[in-house]
Symmetry: C2
């Protein structure tokens, strides 16, 4: 390595329709590239206040403790668990994909007794299943569920979950990495006690921060811990003092430029309006799925349980998924995702998130898939996918 061997940064331009990151608006990129302030500059503290207020809107919560964790979405997951669990606590974790499994792994590293609720990948949990586990185990500290399972495209219905957790004295932790800003997330109405997300999905911001909100109940649990939080970096009892107006105690240096970018991304979300944004995501997902159906691709998750932001579909019968995905990337500069775990080699994961949820994306990816599949003789009639999608837009 010498200076000469490191050439100018010149990445290809890709249309990001995988499981994240999603396309980023030029306005967000411009905010990201703004010269930084110091993390204790009074002008930066105003920006933090604004960011917090915007995050509360997007999470639909009044929780004072609403911040952006200095890491990617998984840091938000870890922050939720390490602050609320202590060794010996019991955690009931819904495992129906990669991210539920990750929650269980982290809860175990906290020294908790982990009770896994398991469902086949692509399926979700009923309130009765959760309640049965709570009643059976007794004295459960928290229930952790994945609202938007990025590995399967399944949407976990939340009706009733908050109430039953409260009845059993358990906190409710919810992963909204792939839902926040793309479909309804109702932290207060659902009775969620700890909710985290990532920036690089439906918020259309680069990866690097994890929005996180704690209910007053969760803050109470944090404050009454017997032991120190095992992570110093993610210790919210200290970080809260940096994010609380009037305190602003130095903990660690915030990722200033990412805060700028997330603020601008949230500004775009609020300008559009949450409900309009959710409708947009739903509309383009419906068109995409219609087009994919015409190509012989069946969704993994059942109707009514699907994420509009992450469309996980089986590759057509007799089609090897990886070479198609590679061709779509290399020839068309479009990124789509493959499967993880038991779905590896079987599915594509097509994200329509934030700025990616638009007709241009739907048309581009369907056209690319159709052309690649046509070479294998797997398309019934040229244009079949686009026509099906356009019917949804017209209808």
């Amino acid at each position: 390595m010498t200076a000469a061997s490191l050439s100018e940064l010149a990445p290809p331009t890709r249309l990001l329709l995988g499981p994240g990151p999603s396309p980023v608006s030029p306005r967000v990129l411009r905010a990201l590239g703004t010269p930084p302030l110091g993390h204790l500059d009074p002008a930066f503290l105003v920006i933090m206040n604004e960011l917090q207020a915007a995050l509360r809107e997007v999470f639909r919560t009044r929780n004072p403790f609403t911040i952006a964790v200095s890491g990617t979405g998984s840091a938000g997951m870890e922050a939720a668990l390490v602050n609320l669990l202590e060794p010996g606590d019991t955690a009931v974790v819904g495992v129906n994909g990669v991210f539920g499994a990750r929650l269980a792994d982290i809860a175990g590293r906290c020294g908790a007794k982990v009770v896994k609720l398991e469902a086949p990948w692509g399926e979700v949990f009923t309130p009765a299943e959760v309640e049965e586990a709570l009643a059976r185990e007794g004295n459960v500290k928290l229930v952790a569920l994945v609202h938007a399972e990025t590995s399967t495209g399944a949407r976990q219905p939340m009706e009733g979950m908050g109430d039953l957790c409260r009845r059993h004295g358990a906190l409710l932790v919810l992963d909204t990495v792939t839902s926040l800003g793309g479909l309804p997330v109702e932290v207060d109405a659902w009775g969620v006690d700890a909710c985290y997300s990532g920036t690089q999905k439906c918020l259309s911001c680069p990866p690097g921060l994890a929005p996180l909100t704690f209910s007053p109940r969760a803050v109470e649990v944090l404050k009454s811990r017997k032991q120190k939080v095992q992570s110093w970096y993610l210790d919210m009892s200290m970080i809260a003092d940096y994010w609380t107006e009037g305190k602003r105690a130095y903990h660690h240096t915030a990722p200033i430029n990412m805060v700028y970018a997330l603020r601008e991304a949230l500004r775009l979300v609020l300008e559009e309006g949450l409900d309009a944004r959710f409708a947009r995501h739903a509309r383009h997902s419906a068109a995409l799925l219609a087009g994919l159906a015409a190509l012989g691709c069946r969704p993994v998750a059942a109707e009514g349980r699907r994420l509009p932001s992450l469309n996980c579909i089986f590759a057509p019968d007799g089609v090897a998924e990886a070479p198609v995905r590679k061709a779509v990337l290399e020839e068309f500069d479009i990124e789509i995702g493959g499967g993880l775990g038991p779905l590896a080699g079987k599915v594509w994961r097509i994200g329509l998130m934030g700025d990616g949820a638009r007709q241009g994306s739907v048309v581009a990816v369907l056209s690319a898939l159709e052309q690649v599949l046509a070479r294998q003789g797997k398309v019934s009639r040229p244009g079949v996918a686009l026509e099906a999608a356009l019917r949804v837009y017209e209808g």
Copy 2:
């Protein structure tokens, strides 16, 4: 909060001469604002390889395990300790400022027996002191020292430290957050086993990543752990697979745009050349200290033990430091730092890091300080600070 209440991002333009973040080159900001690739895109994996090669140059190491942790400098600190320590291990930690204390705090959270070596703030440790602790304790897992103590401006000499740790079978962990890229850091020559830094100091990149390198010895310790690493997010046994060519297993989404920015920042470091960069930092620090001396400001750390990157000086006798610092920020748009812990209210911390280490910064901050102090009748003769600084530049 409504969309209308969130106005355009318009931070003031500050000259960042505090303890970090430091000024960022327009080239780095441009790289930061480049549209992201996916974190598993083959084109991004090439960029990761390039980043790793550049980091090895800057750390002066051949360690294959050399990466950027997805968090700020303190995440690098935590990553070093949680991966190498297990409950019951003994850690000898040098505490002579805020960051040594933080190392001790984190080591305790790992369940380690923490043996604190203590020295007054501003002072450093001798090899004899470290060796005495190693001999006394026996079976020490690691020694952790702070090369560049940002809270005091003290530089820890490293000669002999690696050898004595090896003789006693201990790993050597070194914090170079405020030194990497600004003064010599010799990971291999010093026998350092785990070394971490931040991006927002002498590398002149925004905060958000933590360069980290592990020696083969440290990797061996990581591989032979009895227990899982307590942090999933910072578990280097899994993260290594993402950063290893040919594996690239998904762990978490990397902060793509920060990787772009750090790559460009390292490119600038290598273009300048490390030795030239170190000489530049030393030269401007000498000029600054000469000017400050003419204003009655004495450095906290002794001659030969000072960081050129972080100049920590006592405010002149009879001067309240905070109002001066506030005036320098508000009237001159220059950020300088105050003191922490026992130095709070007593010192200023003036960073000359990366792009901030230039004559323009030195002249600007001396001029601002002189004007504010002159109002209090604390300046012997107008221009005295600048003259002293210029004599160093001319000499």
